[in-house]
Symmetry: C2
Subunit: 576 residues, 2 copies
C-alpha cells in the first residue's frame, strides 16, 4: 500500500501522495493514530477543521490472510475528547488495500450544510456534491448509491446521526451484500465525518488485484497455518461460528458480570430469552442464516442474518454488545425488539453500545421505564429525527447524565462502558479505566483470561494480576488492530503461540521484512505511547484513568463486590 | 465566627462543631475552598454524596466594614468538574456571621425526590421537610417561607433549575427587601444544593449582635478610612452608584471587546439602547431606583431597582454581565426584554452569564434567530419547565454545543466566558484560560488595567505583561473573596494602596492579629494552590488552561485580532 489520499474538504480538493517516511510500514490503528497524533491539533474542537479523519485498512488487509478485512477509522473523538480508533469489518478495507491506498486523510471542513461524496477507483479519487443523500439513513444511502455505482463496490457512509454531528454517531461499512451493517461505532467517528461534510465514500476496486506478495510461498504457508489454527480453536472454530458473539450472554450472566438495568445488578433474569442459543434457534426457525462472513476470507463467520417474524431480512445477527446494551442493561428480554433497534441504529448510524448505555441512564432518570422495549424504539427514532430529546441521547451517556441530573453514569473518559461489569471482571475494569480509547472492551479484552480462561486464568473477582494482564493485552491489541485482522482471532492467538508466529510470518512474507515477535510487541507499545501522548496534550491525566466512583462504592449483586484495583496500580499500566 | 454546622442530608442530622484548627482564621472563598479540597473527593460525581456544599461568610462579614456582606458558596462544580467558589451579596452572610457561623457544610444526599429546608437561629439549626416548596421559583419560595418565618430573616434558596440539578443552576440569596435577586450564579452551585435535597436555608439572626471586635478603636479608624476611600474613587464613588455595573456597556463596546452574537464581533450596533446610561434613564422615568444596597452597609449601592412599563417592580437593576449575555451576545437591544429575562433567571435560579452564552450557542445552531427576544424568553421557560430543550440549555454552553454540533463554544473548563472578548482584552483572556474557576472575569479582573486604566495601564491588544497582571490579580482576588468584601472595592484598592492597608487593619483589629500585606498576599497564593491541587486531582492539566481554538484563529472585528498570549506563558501564571 503506497498511497495516501488527502481529501481537503475546505477546498474540495483531493490529492494523492506517496506515503511519507514517517508513516511507512504502518497500517490500521497504527497508521490512523500516528497520523492523527502528528496532524490533528490535540486541543482542537473535534468538529472543527483542525481535526482530521483518517481511514486505513490494516497491514494484512487485501491479502489472502484469513479474517484480515478490518477498516480503522481514527480522529480526535467528539465523545471522549481524546484520540480514537474504531474499526469495522465489511468489504471496503480490502478494496482500499487492493487500490494500494494506505489511508484516506479527510481534512478541513466543507461549508456548513454542504454535503459531499468521495468516489475512489483506479483512476483516482473525486469529490462530488451529495445533496441527494441528505438526511438519508445508511440503508437508503447505500441503495441510492448502488443505483449509480452498482453492487460490486464498497460503501462507507454516515446516517443522519453523523450529519447532525452527534457524539454517538458511527461510520457504516457495507458487507458483501452491500448492507451497511458493519460499523466503526465507538467514539463518534460518524460525527467527525459529518462535521467535514462527507456523507459517503464509494470504493470501486474493479481492475485491481491482490497486493503483490514479496514471498508468496512463505505467505501461503503462514496463511494456511493461521487459518487452520482458527478452525481448530473452540472459540473461533466453534463458539463464534455457531452462536455469534452473543454466545457470551449466558457465560457472562452466569459469571454475575452481566450489567443489568444501568449497571445495578450483575445478572439479568431475562438472559435466556436473549442468549446466543435462543438467537441461533430464532434465526434458523425463520430461515435466516446462522453463519455469515462480513468480508471475503472470513473463517469465523460470526455475523449471521436475522429475519423478522415474517421471514424477511431485518438485520445482521445482533452482536453480544448490542443485545446486552439494549437488552439486559435496559431490562429488556425481547429479541425481536432488540433486532429492530439494531436495524435502526445501523440505519441512523449510531453506536449500539453507547446508545444502549445512554438509554439506561435515561431510564434511571425516568424518561422511560426499564423493560419498555417499545419506548426504546421511540427514543431511537427521536435520535434519528434530531428532536431535542434525540439531541441529548445521541450525544451519549455523559451528556444524558448531565441533562437529567443522574450521577450513576457508566462512562470512562465520557465513553460508555460495554457489557462486562468491571466489579465482577476486574481485569476488564483495568482496561476500561486506562485505555487510551475511553471505556472500551476491545482495547484489552481481559475477559478472556478472567472468564473464558483463554490466554490465562485469573480470578475475575480479585484485583490480583489484573494490571499486568490488561497491560499485555492492550499492547497486543494495538498491534493486532494494525494488521487488519479481526480481534476475534485473539482467542486463538492467546492460546496458541504458533498463531502469533503465523501472523508475524505473513507480515514478513507480504512486505519482505524480518520482524520478530519482539518487534511486533514494540509496535504495540509505540502505538499506545503515541495515543497516550496525544491524550496528554488533549488534557487527559491520571484522574481520567479511573472508573466512576459508584463502581468503587456500590456493591454489585450477586457477588456483592466493588471495583478495588488500587489507583496506584492503575497508574502503572503504561509503565513499559 | 466559631462554629461550623455540618448538615448530613443522608441522615437528616445537623451537628454543630467548633471550627477545627485546620480551618481557623479562614473565611469566604478561603474557607469554602479549603473545606472542599479537604473533604470532597476530587474524582467524585459532583451530584453525589461525596461532594460537599460549603456556604461561608467572609472574614469581615457581619462587622461594620463597608461592603462586607458577601456569601461564598463552594463545591466541586457539576459544570466544570473542578473546584468552585461563587459568591453573592444579599443579607444572609451578615446574619450567619452574627450567629457566629463560619460555615455550613452540607454533606451526603437526601433520598431521591425528598426536599428539605434548614432553619438556623440562635437556638441551633434544624432540618425539616420542604415538600410545600417543591418546584417553586425563588420568588414564590421566599414568599411562602416569609409567611412562616417573617421578613427579618435571610433566605438562601434554589429554584426549579437547582432541583433539576442543572449545571447552570444558581443559589439565590435575598436582599434587604427579601427579594431573591443576589445569586451565587456560576458553576452550578444550585445543582449541588439540589442534589443534596436542600431547597432553602432560613437564617434568623434575631437576638444576635455584631461579632465582638478585639480592638474596636483601631477597627473604627480603619473602617472609616476604607469607607472614605470608596466614596472618593470615581468608580466606586460615582460610576457604579450612578449607572450600576452596566456603566461598562459603552466602555467595552467602544473598546471593541463587547462580544456580539456568540463572540463573532467586538461591537454591538444596539449598545446604546441597552447601556448603563439608558438603563438609568429608564429606571428613573418609571419610578424605580437607580441606587440600592444589596446588603446593609453597602456604600456603592450599584444594585438599583428596575420597574416595568407600568411602574411595578420587575427586577433589580440588571447587571452588566446579564445585559451583555442576553443582549449583545444574542443580538438583542431590548432592555425590557432583558430585564424580564433577568427576573426569570432569578426565579428559576439560573446563572445569567452561562444562560446567555448558552443561548448564543443555540442561536448559532439555529434554535432561535439572533435578535429574537421573545424567543429567548420562551427558551428560558423551557429551562424552567425542564423540557428536553430546557434540559440541554440549563446544562450550559458546553452541553448545548455538543447537543447541536456547534464547534464555536465560548467556554473554558466547560464554563461560559463572560462579557469581555479575550481577543480584544488579552489580560482577561489570561484569567479566563488559567483561573481555577473556569471562564470567569471575577477571578482576576484584568479588564481594570487593560481598559479602565485602574491598577495599571496595559495595551489590551498586546500580549505584553498580561500574564503578570492576571497572576497578581488572581492572587489578590482570592484574598478579597475571603474577606467578604464586594469585589467592586478592588477598583479603589487597585488605585489606592491605603485602601488595602485599611482592609488589613480591619482584619487585624477584628481578630487581634498583626497580619501584614505580605501575609495577605500569601493567603491568596495559598488559596489558589489549594484550588489548583484539587483541580489537578480532579483531572485538570495544562490543556485545560487554554481558550477554545477559535479565539486563536478567528479574527475579531473591529480590531481584527486573535488571542495570542503564548501557551508557554499561560503555563507560568501559577509560578509563584
Amino acid at each position: 500500500m503506497d498511497w495516501i489520499y488527502r481529501v481537503n474538504m475546505t477546498e474540495g480538493k483531493v490529492t494523492k501522495e506517496e506515503i511519507p517516511e514517517a508513516y511507512a510500514g504502518l497500517g490500521g490503528r497504527g497508521l490512523t493514530s500516528t497520523i492523527v497524533a502528528a496532524e490533528a491539533l490535540p486541543t482542537c474542537h473535534p468538529l472543527d477543521e483542525n481535526n482530521k479523519l483518517v481511514i486505513a485498512p490494516g497491514l494484512l488487509t487485501g491479502t489472502a490472510a484469513a479474517n484480515s478485512g478490518r477498516l480503522s477509522v481514527g480522529a480526535k473523538s467528539p465523545l471522549t475528547g481524546g484520540i480514537k480508533e474504531s474499526n469495522a469489518g465489511g468489504t471496503s478495507a480490502q478494496k482500499l488495500a487492493r487500490l494500494g491506498i494506505a489511508a484516506i486523510v479527510v481534512e478541513g471542513k466543507a461549508e456548513n450544510g454542504k454535503l459531499f461524496k468521495l468516489k475512489i477507483d483506479t483512476s483516482g479519487a473525486e469529490l462530488s456534491p451529495a445533496d441527494e443523500l441528505k438526511g438519508l439513513g445508511n440503508y437508503d444511502t447505500v441503495a441510492k448509491l448502488t443505483e449509480k455505482y452498482g453492487e460490486k463496490v464498497g460503501y462507507i457512509s454516515i446516517g443522519p446521526a453523523g450529519e447532525m454531528k452527534m457524539s454517538a454517531a458511527s461510520v457504516a461499512v457495507t458487507d458483501p451484500e452491500n448492507r451497511p451493517t458493519r460499523h466503526a461505532g465507538r467514539g463518534g467517528m460518524g460525527a467527525v465525518m459529518g462535521s467535514k461534510g462527507l456523507k459517503a465514500i464509494i470504493v470501486d476496486d474493479s481492475g485491481t488485484s491482490r497486493p503483490v506478495v514479496k514471498d508468496p510461498e512463505a505467505f501461503r504457508a503462514a496463511a494456511r497455518t493461521f487459518a487452520q489454527l482458527l478452525r481448530e480453536h473452540p472459540v473461533t472454530g466453534e463458539g463464534l461460528p455457531t452462536y455469534g458473539t452473543n454466545v457470551l450472554a449466558n457465560v457472562i450472566n452466569e459469571a454475575g458480570a452481566y450489567p443489568t438495568r444501568n449497571f445495578s445488578e450483575g445478572q439479568f433474569e431475562g438472559t435466556d430469552k436473549i442468549s446466543g442459543e435462543t438467537l441461533r434457534d430464532t434465526i434458523i426457525a425463520r430461515g435466516g442464516s446462522p453463519k455469515h462472513a462480513c468480508h471475503p476470507g472470513c473463517i469465523i463467520q460470526c455475523s449471521g442474518i436475522y429475519h423478522d417474524e415474517d421471514g424477511n431480512y431485518l438485520t445482521k445477527r445482533v452482536e453480544y454488545e448490542t443485545v446486552w446494551a439494549n437488552g439486559a442493561d435496559l431490562g429488556i428480554d425481547d429479541l425481536d425488539a432488540i433486532a429492530q433497534m439494531d436495524r435502526l441504529y445501523d440505519d441512523y448510524g449510531l453506536d449500539t453500545i453507547e446508545m444502549g448505555a445512554t438509554i439506561g441512564v435515561a431510564m434511571e432518570a425516568g424518561v422511560k421505564e426499564f423493560g419498555d422495549a417499545a419506548g426504546v424504539i421511540e427514543l431511537i427514532h427521536e435520535v434519528g429525527k434530531g428532536s431535542y430529546l434525540g439531541r441529548i441521547l445521541g450525544n451519549g451517556a455523559a451528556v444524558t447524565g448531565q441533562a437529567f441530573g443522574v450521577s450513576r453514569v457508566p462512562v470512562v473518559k465520557r465513553q460508555a462502558l460495554p457489557a462486562y461489569d468491571p466489579r465482577a471482571v476486574k481485569g476488564i475494569g483495568v482496561t476500561y479505566a486506562t485505555s487510551t480509547m475511553g471505556g472500551d472492551h476491545t482495547a484489552g479484552y481481559s475477559v478472556a483470561p478472567n472468564i473464558l480462561k483463554v490466554g490465562g486464568d485469573l480470578d475475575p473477582l480479585s484485583p490480583e494480576g489484573q494490571v499486568e494482564i490488561s497491560r499485555n493485552l492492550q499492547i497486543a491489541t494495538a498491534t493486532l488492530d494494525s494488521t487488519g485482522l479481526c480481534l476475534f482471532v485473539a482467542f486463538c492467538v492467546l492460546d496458541r503461540p504458533e498463531a502469533m508466529d503465523a501472523i508475524v510470518n505473513m507480515i514478513n512474507a507480504q512486505y519482505g521484512l524480518s520482524l520478530t515477535g519482539d518487534d511486533v510487541t514494540e509496535l504495540g507499545k509505540k502505538i499506545l505511547r503515541t495515543e497516550r501522548e496525544f491524550n496528554r496534550k488533549a488534557g487527559f491525566s491520571a484522574a481520567d484513568d479511573r472508573l466512576p466512583d459508584f463502581f468503587k462504592t456500590e456493591k454489585l449483586p450477586p457477588h456483592n463486590v466493588v471495583f478495588d484495583v488500587p489507583d496506584e496500580e492503575l497508574d502503572t499500566v503504561f509503565n513499559f
